[in-house]
């Protein structure tokens, strides 16, 4: 279940890290931004769907800031992301009404509606939420796939691998970066918005290490399937996210056998990425040797 919610975020991370080759750390700020916007608006009694749209817009704006800092001030993309992320920390606290945490227990969320509707069909709460998130993710995935089949989406795909080619086609790469990074952070914010509803609260620290976990999901996915079709690429990001969350779940619930605590999870995530890097390097060398032989 968590895998599905964070899968939306992983799709966002996939767009920047893999397609744009733009390691974007804004994500650590835009994830709680989405959660904060959602929680604050729900608290004010704004309908959930409008709140989700607002969260998406907030994420898009966050991405816009990062991309513009990078483009106009010629700041390295990593630093641009860190700047936005740091600024967002303050912004998020303000959105939450000058506090770090906003519980949503007594507010109607989308999930409350979903569970109520599913209850009429005789489905349990767990199943209702699971099916709901599955549908949301499926719709987003298909929309994203369609986008990457459009002329603009294809050009975006070329940007990460070959910026000169994009320039040669008479397209301003700066515009494309703005579009890509904004879209990515919009998705991340939506993911944050759903996470807040699922967890029952919004917290400024929700975003800690989100980029790394998203990247871990993307990399795990890359071990599962090999392809050059965008439909498969997004599918494997989602599968990677589900698998990653499953691993984290296992670590949380059975980790105590090896004296592991939830505090170790970030360390484990980092080690997982390093392991993935080593494995992909090995594959790479094996491939090279075959070619030379």
């Amino acid at each position: 279940m968590e895998g599905l919610i964070y899968g939306i975020m992983a799709l966002g991370v996939f767009i920047t890290f893999r397609i744009l080759d733009f390691p974007d750390l804004t994500v650590d700020g835009s994830f709680p931004l989405g959660a904060a916007i959602m929680a604050a608006l729900l608290f004010k009694g704004v309908p959930p769907f409008i709140a989700i749209a607002a969260a998406f817009t907030g994420g898009v704006l966050a991405g816009l800031v990062t991309a513009v800092i990078h483009n106009k001030l010629k700041v390295p993309n990593l630093l641009a992301g860190i700047l936005t992320m740091t600024m967002l920390y303050s912004v998020n606290i303000r959105i939450l009404g000058n506090r770090a945490n906003l519980p949503l227990l007594r507010v109607d969320t989308i999930l409350t509606n979903v569970v109520a509707a599913a209850g009429n069909l005789g489905l349990s709460r767990e199943w209702a939420i699971l099916i709901y998130f599955f549908l949301v993710l499926a719709v987003l995935k298909v929309l994203l796939d369609l986008f990457f089949h459009t002329d603009m989406g294809l050009t975006l795909g070329a940007l990460g691998g070959n910026e000169q080619m994009v320039i040669s086609q008479g397209v301003n790469p700066e515009h494309l970066k703005v579009i890509g990074v904004s879209l990515s952070n919009g998705l991340v914010a939506v993911s944050g918005a759903f996470a807040a509803q699922y967890l029952g609260f919004a917290d400024v620290n929700l975003g800690l290490g989100i980029v790394v976990s998203g990247l871990a999901s993307v990399m795990i996915g890359e071990f599962l399937l090999r392809s050059n079709r965008i439909g498969i690429l997004t599918l494997r990001v989602i599968l990677g996210s589900i698998l990653f969350r499953a691993l984290m779940y296992l670590a949380r619930y059975y980790g105590y056998h090896i004296k592991m605590t939830p505090n170790d999870l970030k360390l484990i995530t980092g080690l997982l990425i390093i392991l993935a890097l080593i494995l992909s390097k090995k594959n790479y060398f094996r491939g090279r040797r075959k070619k030379n032989a």
Partner: protein, 263 residues
């Protein structure tokens, strides 16, 4: 069509590393010209292309295109009417994408909208073009371009550039990284497209024989200046020996000058 007016390019201006790469260069390129450009390393050939294409802006002088001042126009804008092929075959296409995706991106220049234009009709159209290359690429639309050889990629880049009908094409030693057979193939293709589509072209080459055999005009660059500008009938009478001769004569003169300075 294209006019450079006293264009100059100085790198690291005002430092000890100051280097003048292009000096007050005047050049008029006419519609339908096919100009070959030769010159030793560091003569300023690639810098000249960078100025024309907009990768760099000249430190002095102006550039006009169809009587419009484009001196400060950014590279991506100029790319809408100029095509450029680099020595490195990897720069023209995206390795991590399929052949058909690459062709779709390069088919039209300018900002891309949200239309899904790749359909079966387009695919058949692409196959038709690829068949023309006779490299067996027509059956590999779904393959990543990274799997293609350098010659195939360069031929593909050339094809796609020709299809977008630019007003001017810049070929920057586009066959230098290829093996002789593929280089020949790509050069033949170059000639064919320039004829077929009536393109205006400038081509940098290190091969003097090619420089003489191809095009209607030949420029020799040295130290950021045009040393030689031969066209039409005069160009047809040129021989490799004559070119080498001219080149050495100038160089010797330089050498003699240097010597007198030093002594």
């Amino acid at each position: 069509m294209l006019r450079l007016k006293k264009a100059g390019m100085v790198f690291h201006s005002g430092t000890v590393n100051e280097k003048t790469v292009i000096q007050d260069l005047d050049l008029q390129v006419n519609q339908g010209d096919f100009i070959t450009i030769i010159g030793s390393n560091g003569a300023g050939k690639s810098t000249l292309f960078n100025l024309i294409a907009g990768t760099h802006q000249p430190t002095s002088g102006q550039i006009f295109f169809k009587d419009r001042d484009i001196t400060r126009e950014p590279e991506y804008r100029r790319a809408a009417y100029m095509g450029r092929i680099f020595q490195n075959p990897l720069l023209g296409t995206a390795s991590n994408m399929t052949l058909e995706d690459n062709m779709m991106i390069t088919l039209r220049k300018g900002f891309k909208g949200l239309k899904i234009s790749l359909n079966s009709r387009r695919r058949r159209e692409f196959q038709g073009y690829l068949k023309d290359l006779s490299m067996g690429l027509e059956d590999r639309l779904k393959d990543n371009v990274g799997l293609l050889s350098g010659g195939q990629r360069q031929a593909l880049t050339l094809l796609m550039m020709a299809l977008s009908r630019p007003d001017l094409i810049l070929l920057d030693e586009h066959t230098a990284a290829l093996d002789p057979r593929n280089a020949r193939l790509v050069l033949d293709l170059t000639n064919r497209y320039i004829d077929e589509y009536g393109l205006t072209a400038m081509m940098i080459t290190h091969n003097m024989a090619d420089a003489i055999a191809m095009g209607n005009r030949l420029l020799m660059l040295d130290e950021g200046r045009i040393l030689l500008d031969v066209r039409g009938e005069d160009k047809k009478r040129l021989t490799v020996e004559a070119l080498v001769d001219i080149f050495h004569r100038v160089k010797k003169q330089d050498y003699a000058n240097d010597k007198s300075l030093l002594s």
